[in-house]
Structure formats: C-alpha cells, structure tokens
Symmetry: C2
Subunit: 311 residues, 2 copies
C-alpha cells in the first residue's frame, strides 16, 4: 500500500478531462457500480462516503470528504478529502491518496467535459460567479477544451475577484458586475449560496451554465426561472434532486425530476445534446464517486507514493 | 494524519470488550449515526464500506473491507480491511489503520459481550464449530468475561482443529465430533457455510449460541429449527435480515423479522434479556461500523502511528 500526499501535482489536465469523460460515458452505459453517497452529520459539519468501481478503468475504491464551513476561521480548509484505492483483483488496499486538491480538479474536469459538449461555440467568453478555488479549477479545465477569449469575474469580495484575475494572467481576465458577468457564452457559478444569485433576465439565449456550487440540500445559485427555460443536464438524477442546483426548486414544487433532460454521461455518448444554438443549457454538478476514481487512476499512473507496510 | 500498520498489538481485550459494549449501548439508545453498510461487487469478491459516528466515544470514520474467497490460494488473506478516522471537530483525516486484525478482534469482542450477557452461567463449556482466526478471537475475548472450563473444537479439517487447541493451550481444549461440540453452554459457529451445519437435536436447553459465520446473503450455519425455539438477538435487524444467520430462513419464509427478540444493544442496556436458564439464546452477528470505530478508539489511545504529511 502506498500513500500519495500530493497526487495532483503532475496531472495533465487535458488527459484528465478525457478520463473523466470516459467515466461519465461508462456511467451512462450502466457499466459502473456506485452506491448512493452517504452523509454522516458531525457537530460542525458533515462527511460523505463515496464508494465506486469502474471496470473499464480497472479501478475501485472510496472517497471520504468532509464539509466544515467554520474551518477557515481556524486556519483549516473547509473541505478535505482522502481516497482509498483497492486492488480490483484481490480487494487489497493499494493506495491512500490525499484527495483535497483532486476533488477540486475532478470537479473542474466535469465542468470542462460539460462545456466541451454543451457550449454554444468553440470560442467563448467565460463568466465566473465566485472566485474561489473551484472557479479557478473550472477555468483551468475549460481552457483545455475551448478557446477562452475573455474571463469576467464577479465575487462578493472584489479583492478575491482581482486575485483570481491575477492568477489567470495568461488569459484576458477582468472583474465586473454580476449582471455583466452573466452576459457570456459559458457561465460558471461556484459559490456556497443558499439563495439565487443569478437572475433570469441576465442570461441571454444560447448560454451554457455550469452550476457547481449547490452540493447540499438548501443550496442554490440560479433563479429557478432559468431552469424552466433551459435544457438541464445533471451528473446523477438522484444526487441532483437531493443536493444539486435543482434540489430547492424540486422541494418547493417549482421543478420536477421529469423536467431534467438527461445526464452528462448521456451527452458524452451522444444520446442527448444541445438542440439549438439559441437554447440555454445547464450542467448541474453534485460530484460523483466515479470522478474521484477516474482522477485517482490518472494520478496513480504518473507517480510513486510512499510505501506503507500492510499488513 | 498518522498510519497505524499494526494497531491491534497493544490492545487490552478486557478493556476492548467494555468499549465495544458501550458502542452497542449507544446504538440501542439511538445515539450513533451509522448508514447502511454498502456492498460493491468486484470480479472475484466484493468490498463493503461502513461509515459511522459515535459521539460518546468522540470518534467518526469509515471502515473499508473486502471479501475475496479465492485469495488464500494465491497466498493473500481473503479479508483485508482499512479504517479511516476523521477529526470529529474539523472533519480532517486523522488516522489510517490497518484494520484486518482489528476486524477479527472487534468481532470477537461482540461475541464476548453477547456471551457475558446471555450465557446461562458464569462457568461454561465452550463449543467451537470452525477453527479459523475468528474462532480463536471469540475464545480470547470470551475468556475475559466467563470462566471457560473447557473448549471443544470441531472443524472440517481435523488438523486445523488440533492447531487451534495447541494455540489455546492455557485452556482445557480438545477436538471432538460435531454433535459433541454442540453439547455445551456457549457455542460459537464461525464457518463460511452456506448450509446448516448445526442440527436442532444437538442443542440442549439453555445453550447460548454466537452465530458469527453468516455475513452475506445465502450463508447459514444453524438448522432454522434452532432459531424457532430460541430467543434470537441481532446486532442490527436490517443487516441481519440482509446477511446474518436469519437471512436464509427469512428469504425462504421460515422466519420473519418480527420473531427477532431484540438487539445486543438492547440487551446491554437491560431492555431485553435471557428470560430463563432453560431457554436457548442466539446472537446473530453481522458486524457493525460502530464496532470498527470502537476498536479504533482503543487502538489510537495506546499507540503512536507513522506521521503522514496531509496535505
């Protein structure tokens, strides 16, 4: 068994996008095993346990990830993750990966796969609502798939928005007002919001939206009216209804599961698609265990870990 | 984060029995969180993911354990386990434990807790059906609770039965025929059998049975007639119906969940008990995630692990 303290450092993002895409395709083909994500509540947060097996990638294991919103005030990240990989043949534990950075990267890669398939054009203006680590991961993954002409960033903190633009200095990046950021080809929302930030009237025809922030019951970033006039794809219907962007409108009766157009996996294998250049498309991401295994498979191929005696 | 390659080596078995007992009591009081054990099927076996949180012990985490029956022919254990412990306050990964031996030990401890509460007497003859690692763990844990006057062992392999007796040389131990082994005060069945080995007519009034072997659908060790005339306690009713000793008789309609007398936790807190010296009692063990956390809490208190950089 080996431990990988920094498994994200050598990952090629283009290759990662392809392996993540493959995992979604296998999901759509019904060729993966992935029991529902399980939540355990702790006094100041929760942790989620995510087992899966992807036969085509020859990888099986479990990601364990916490969400503790108060941690940053104590100098600790709010989200930390660890992934255990088992040998598919014998069931023996093979690897323990620090999966905190991998979680950001695999979420970015899913957004890139969605944008690659659903963007209205190959050359795009990219809007970012939120300027945290995930906003950055989305840009880094999406620019491997699309020609990003410009990036517009809005954040509650103008300072954080400026910092992100500095980090993306290889791109044409600037901060702007929320309505102007939303006037783009590909919009990424990546905030912890519990009320809609993006108004329906700010979204023009043809926009593709990666709705990333909502990942727990009660969270939402988009005016439900956007969902009503958009073609909405999810990573997994059950998880999306429980904790994705659609969870609040479904709970309130404004939206229903039968309005979901399909899964990202179905888009990847060509079963579902954007139907016209003018329609709005939404990818509602909650995060799947198969993404965690897919990125682990990439990380493990490129690196040697630290040997741990087992038994 | 620390790695513990051999966390069972310093555990005091009497203390372990008390902490395992406490975890069952908390389970009965409804004060633990434990989502259902999740199964993922691999080509030659499966793995199970077991998250939990025990507030009273201040411990949260996940055990991951495989079952690969063909492994021993390749020189690899059929069951290997790893436990991840998270900081209850922050959700940060705190410890990775090699949990293969711990799994045997915590199963033995549960059997000892059951025997301590349900045995017809303090001084007992102990029968063992099966002579593997779990049979030994049961004896080692039970002898901390009861005065074990003699141990009788039956195994398909006479050689293995003799080896176990040699290992238990501090006790009066000998091998015997299956019917004679079953004529005892406390009987432990710990085989991978898929058909009843223990006949109803071999079990005398007053016997307590720890039915340990059945831990997956299709497995059973006892003639269902024994269950019909016994007071049957389980670790968890849902898990027992799915994969415990009662799973086959429930599937075939011979037995039903409403015939289960209660849980071991209810016995520990005094809500349920053996009603007379003459009745037969059965403890049907499937193995709970809270046991894995309980033993981890004991192991972590007594040992220093190997520091792993995280992140």
């Amino acid at each position: 068994m080996r431990y990988y303290p920094d498994p994200g450092k050598a990952i090629d993002l283009s290759r990662l996008n392809r392996v993540i895409e493959e995992s979604f395709a296998e999901h759509a083909r019904g060729r993966v095993q992935m029991p529902p994500k399980m939540y355990v509540t702790l006094p100041r947060g929760d942790f989620r346990t995510m087992p899966a097996y992807i036969p085509s990638l020859g990888i099986a294991g479990v990601k364990i990830v916490n969400v503790h919103p108060e941690n940053p005030s104590r100098g600790i990240p709010s989200v930390m993750a660890i992934t255990i990989i088992l040998d598919v043949d014998t069931g023996a534990p093979r690897a323990v990966l620090n999966a905190t950075e991998l979680t950001d990267m695999r979420t970015g890669a899913a957004g890139a796969v969605a944008a690659a398939h659903l963007s209205p054009s190959r050359s795009v203006s990219l809007g970012l609502v939120g300027s945290g680590k995930q906003a950055k991961s989305q840009v880094q993954a999406i620019e491997k798939e699309l020609d990003v002409r410009e990036v517009l960033v809005w954040s509650r903190s103008e300072k954080n928005a400026n910092t992100l633009c500095t980090q993306l200095s290889h791109l044409e990046c600037r901060t702007s007002s929320l309505p102007k950021v939303c006037d783009c080809d590909v919009l990424v929302t990546a905030t912890p919001s519990r009320e809609p930030l993006v108004r329906d009237e700010w979204i023009r025809e043809g926009t593709h939206i990666n709705a990333i922030g909502a990942d727990a019951p009660g969270k939402e970033e988009l005016d439900p009216a956007i969902l009503m006039r958009a073609r909405v794809f999810v990573d997994d219907p059950v998880q999306a209804a429980h904790s994705g962007e659609v969870n609040v409108p479904i709970s309130s009766g404004l939206y229903s599961m039968d309005m979901i157009a399909g899964t990202l996996g179905q888009v990847v294998i060509g079963e579902k698609k954007r139907m016209s250049r003018d329609e709005i498309t939404v990818f509602d991401a909650t995060g799947l265990a198969i993404q965690d295994l897919a990125i682990a498979s990439v990380a493990l191929k490129d690196q040697d870990g630290i040997e741990l005696a087992f038994p």
